[in-house]
Symmetry: C2
Subunit: 197 residues, 2 copies
């Protein structure tokens, strides 16, 4: 059986972007299958008493994060442009990713949304931006929007966010490997390694 | 000129322990000199509105940290025992480390304090524990205690903590390499690498 790595990510999250850029190559090199789990950080942060991203609430932490992400992207060869709005609302994009669950185009969509946000500074909460992305990967944007706005998808995304919380997730990206939680883009290799043994 | 890496650490900090265990070998292999900078996280956390360690204030983050540190120590071959009290008060140990500034035994003292806290579960706020450590590295514990409690040392430690804050430090361990801030034990290699180029 192919070992599985659950990848829990939020479209607004800078470090999730780095992980999303790296995870497919690293997982496939190790013979590991990625299980994509879009979720929402807002409700998770709210239970920690944070009405906003901790990078906005704690300015020193925020200033460091912007420099750290810029340096990491440079080092790893990942395209980077600091978005003019942070965090961008990833709700609609997450619903679309949830609706695309079984599609083989799911990860193309995810990568395009991340690049729109963190490399082209586009507003990923805008339906027009997301429709453009769907079209660019040859998907029927109207049909998918209809599905993404269906109650079943909204409920599934809410249930996934609740699941994340109940399994101890407190930030993004998070990975589960054999029920072990790993947090942060810099734990990706370790999470994959833990599946080899 | 030998490139210098500033290592800002707090004796109560779990990830500072990991960095303290690794920094000498990694720095010396790269021809880098370590500048040891003990400081206090309490006043830094206070400016972020935290009256306690964030690992105590945010239980999900705390639960993850304990598992993460245990896993990292196992992976790296670092002795580990979860302390029965967290965070332990590192004020007196930091004053002693500040008093030992110019001494060649400074890093032996630092390592012993970290191991006392995180591998032997000893109370590093206890003068008797610290005196025992000083004796074990052949230092005159009474003379050093006298120096550590001198106003000039107290002021120097306070000034260093203020310096950390003003240079953007918000947690520990932190590293400065050519005035670039790196945060977290998992940024040690990157900080050292940045001094090679």
């Amino acid at each position: 059986m192919t070992p599985k790595l659950e990848f829990w990510f939020e479209f607004a999250s800078t470090y999730s972007y780095i992980a999303a850029e790296e995870i497919e190559d690293k997982a496939s090199a190790a013979g590991v299958e990625v299980v994509w789990r879009p979720f929402l950080l807002g409700p998770i942060f709210a239970t920690q008493g944070w009405p906003d991203s901790p990078f906005n609430l704690y300015p020193a932490k925020g200033a460091y994060m912007w420099r750290d992400v810029e340096r990491l992207c440079q080092r790893k060869g990942i395209a980077w442009r600091r978005p003019s709005v942070f965090p961008r609302n990833g709700l609609l994009a997450s619903r679309i990713a949830t609706a695309l669950d079984a599609s083989e185009k799911l990860h193309a969509f995810i990568r395009s949304v991340y690049r729109a946000n963190f490399s082209f500074d586009l507003d990923i909460s805008e339906p027009s931006v997301l429709k453009e992305i769907l079209r660019s990967i040859s998907l029927d944007e109207e049909a998918i929007f209809e599905r993404a706005n269906d109650d079943s998808v909204k409920q599934l995304l809410r249930a996934r966010t609740d699941e994340a919380k109940s399994r101890g997730v407190f930030g993004a990206p998070s990975f589960f490997a054999k029920e072990e939680l790993f947090w942060g883009s810099d734990r990706l290799e370790q999470a994959i390694d833990s599946l080899r043994t």
